[in-house]
């Protein structure tokens, strides 16, 4: 019988066989990479805003407390965005004719609030409450990063469910004393596991599994 395939067919078939394996593994790797990259998560990617507001300037340089603008963070689910009048407590006096603040002045004159683009945008099926986290010793910088060093506001965490669960499973890794919650420069001490465990007990953080119930966040 004549040869059906040339000797090269062996090479071809090996390339195909191993190629399929490489392709499947590669597709898995690529999917995972894309899912964890800023392309999907927007970590480190500043969004366009009506005014190029700098947390670095206001928090880092001026030392304004978080609660001055995000005034409902201790009392409600939503931390709150400042009204234009809050901006104007200072900016009616300083930089009151800076071109960069034209949008703020226009907002004041027309009584139409500034339309910020939300940086930390949780899906609608996630229930999240700022006040309970602040009350139990979870600091701003744990989730929002060194906001005092950000000229333009951006995410430092993925906000993936895995990230939420990382803390809900072991809150002692991230909890801090209540008086340090608004200290953006706070760093965990070397014995955070021990100190954290004490705080978990002191603040009555539920460790019986309630924090990881589906219904805690998906109500």
């Amino acid at each position: 019988m004549a040869q059906l395939f040339s000797p090269r067919a062996n090479v071809h078939s090996r390339v195909i066989v191993f190629g399929v394996v490489v392709l499947v593994c590669g597709a898995g790797w690529a999917t995972s990479t894309i899912y964890w990259s800023p392309y999907t998560t927007y970590v480190g990617v500043p969004l366009d805003q009506p005014v190029p507001f700098s947390h670095k300037h206001h928090v880092g340089d001026d030392g304004i407390d978080c609660r001055y603008c995000h005034s409902s963070v201790e009392k409600s689910a939503f931390a709150g965005l400042p009204s234009t009048q809050t901006c104007m407590t200072c900016h009616s006096q300083i930089f009151n004719d800076a071109p960069v603040l034209a949008a703020v002045r226009q907002s004041l004159s027309t009584s139409a609030p500034l339309k910020w683009n939300r940086v930390h945008d949780l899906p609608g099926y996630v229930y999240f409450n700022h006040s309970i986290h602040v009350a139990k010793g979870i600091g701003c910088s744990t989730c929002h990063g060194r906001i005092d060093q950000m000229p333009l506001t951006q995410k430092t965490q993925t906000l993936y469910m895995k990230w939420c669960l990382d803390c809900h499973r072991e809150p002692q890794k991230y909890i801090r004393p209540r008086d340090k919650v608004f200290d953006v420069a706070w760093q965990p001490p070397p014995d955070q596991q021990v100190e954290g465990a004490k705080l978990v007990t002191r603040y009555h953080v539920d460790t019986t599994g309630h924090l990881t119930n589906c219904g805690t966040c998906h109500r």
Binding site: M1, F5, W36, Y160, K162, C164, D166
Partner: protein
């Protein structure tokens, strides 16, 4: 089962054995290597008979109906089915268990009978292995269709996700994914491994170059050398060994879907063995339903002799009795437990609104198969086909009874609700039959449907027996 060679059905010649213990009457007399090659290998190489074309057409129409049913399901959601609380598991789960059950004959015949030196597997193992693959394909679709959000079906697999949660490993539904996935993989490998020498035979007999190339590609360069055979046989036996526990495990796991739950009518320790017996029962019944017409249409009576059909009927009778015992034990335990919910479940099952389904089941799965005690029925292919058809329907009804009548009246009478299937339920059921038959027709058309190499082995063994 080991000594059916004394059966009165050995119509062709007196039973005798080759030195390796092969019964000589598995083949009709007068078969040589060449007639075997020609009969089997020429089918994929020549034009399909009209009956094949007609059958394929009908099967394909059913498949298109399945496509419509699935498309509408994906567009509208599971609300188009009759499922609702409390009967949240409807036809999809009934079909799933039915198809997985049908898939069991393949591995039973291929692996267990191979390891037990039951040579009457030779002419039917290829069929039933193919049947296994196609039935698992149909089965695997059902739970996916049943998902509210089928596009995230991959959440069933443990992979490093962004949610930081694994599938619930304590749930039998996850065990199902692994059991059925493993079963499909092993069955596919086993089937393909057995096909390799036969594909080489087809390659060598092909007259057109493209046929030679296609079959040659899938024959993986098989040259029939002794070392090829040595490795092939080792691999084949190893896979058979791996597949054997699966025959028992897969349907046991499927039965856990029910028995792990606390619903009366599901929560029962008899379920795993009773499900496995039922699976083999339904597998053999479906094999007969396919083998009998194919044997007739392609004139394969001299290869698939009456011995095969007779043995398959015997296995059906035996497993059917085990299944009947399962029915009996379920009823007995309901009474013996003294549990009012169990007792009520049984009364509801037999005399409640679905009572007529239950008694149809008893008729189809317990009474009708008793006909197989008669050698005349076992020898009559038409009668055997009809009995198998009854059992085929009966096994589907059995799963209907288990799923629906247990759910529709559970602990809380205020939640009781009847289930009635919609046209989309029926289209999904018959559509999946269309998928199964389409694949089966393609298989018959494209690859040797009987193992050529193993049939040649029978010829060789008979020659040895005659020389002796």
């Amino acid at each position: 089962m080991n000594t059916p060679d004394q059966s009165p059905l050995t119509s062709h010649e007196s039973p005798s054995y080759s030195p390796l213990g092969y019964p000589t009457n598995l083949l009709a007399p007068g078969q040589t290597y060449e007639t075997v090659n020609k009969t089997i290998a020429e089918i994929p190489l020549s034009h399909a008979p009209m009956s094949w074309r007609f059958g394929f057409f009908v099967a394909f129409l059913l498949l298109m109906m399945f496509l419509v049913a699935i498309t509408w399901l994906f567009a509208k959601g599971v609300g188009i089915w009759g499922v609702n609380i409390p009967v949240a598991w409807g036809f999809a789960i009934v079909n799933f268990v039915w198809w997985v059950g049908i898939a069991h004959a393949g591995t039973f015949i291929s692996a267990i009978l191979l390891l037990l030196f039951q040579h009457w597997r030779t002419a039917i193992n290829r069929f039933t292995e193919a049947m296994t693959l196609f039935a698992v394909a149909c089965a695997g679709l059902m739970p996916l269709l049943h998902l509210g959000r089928p596009w995230v079906f991959y959440w069933l697999f443990p992979y490093p996700d962004t949610m930081g949660v694994w599938p619930q490993f304590r749930s039998p539904l996850v065990w199902d994914v692994f059991a059925v996935g493993t079963y499909f993989t092993i069955s596919l490998l086993f089937w393909y491994l057995g096909l390799v020498p036969d594909l080489a035979t087809v390659r060598d007999r092909a007259r057109k170059l493209w046929q030679k190339k296609v079959y040659g590609f899938f024959a993986l360069g098989w040259r029939n050398s002794a070392s090829h055979w040595q490795r092939h046989q080792v691999a084949y036996l190893l896979l058979a060994g791996l597949a054997t526990p699966l025959v028992l495990s897969v349907h046991s796991v499927v039965s856990f879907d029910f028995s792990v739950a606390l619903v009366p009518g599901w929560h029962s320790t008899i379920f795993p063995p009773y499900f496995v017996a039922g699976a083999i029962y339904s597998g053999f019944e479906m094999s007969l339903n396919i083998v009998i017409p194919v044997r007739k249409i392609y004139h394969l009576e001299h290869l698939i002799t009456e011995r095969y059909l007779n043995n398959m009927a015997n296995i059906m009778l035996a497993t059917g009795m085990i299944v009947a015992y399962g029915y009996f034990i379920e009823a007995f335990m309901a009474w013996y437990s003294g549990d009012i919910f169990e007792r009520y479940m049984m009364m509801n099952r037999a005399f409640g609104p679905y009572g007529w389904v239950f008694w149809t089941l008893m008729l189809f799965n317990v009474l009708v198969p008793q006909a197989l005690w008669s050698a005349r029925i076992r020898r009559n292919t038409v009668a055997l086909f009809i009995v198998a058809l009854f059992i085929n329907a009966g096994m589907w009804i059995e799963r209907f009874v288990i799923v629906i009548t247990s759910l529709n009246r559970d602990f809380t009478p205020s939640a009781w609700h009847m289930f009635s299937p919609t046209r989309w339920d029926w289209m999904t059921l018959f559509g999946s039959v269309g998928l199964f038959l389409t694949l089966q027709f393609l298989f018959i058309r494209l690859v040797p449907m009987i193992s050529i190499s193993e049939t040649r082995e029978l010829v060789a063994e008979r020659e040895k027996a005659t020389i002796k």
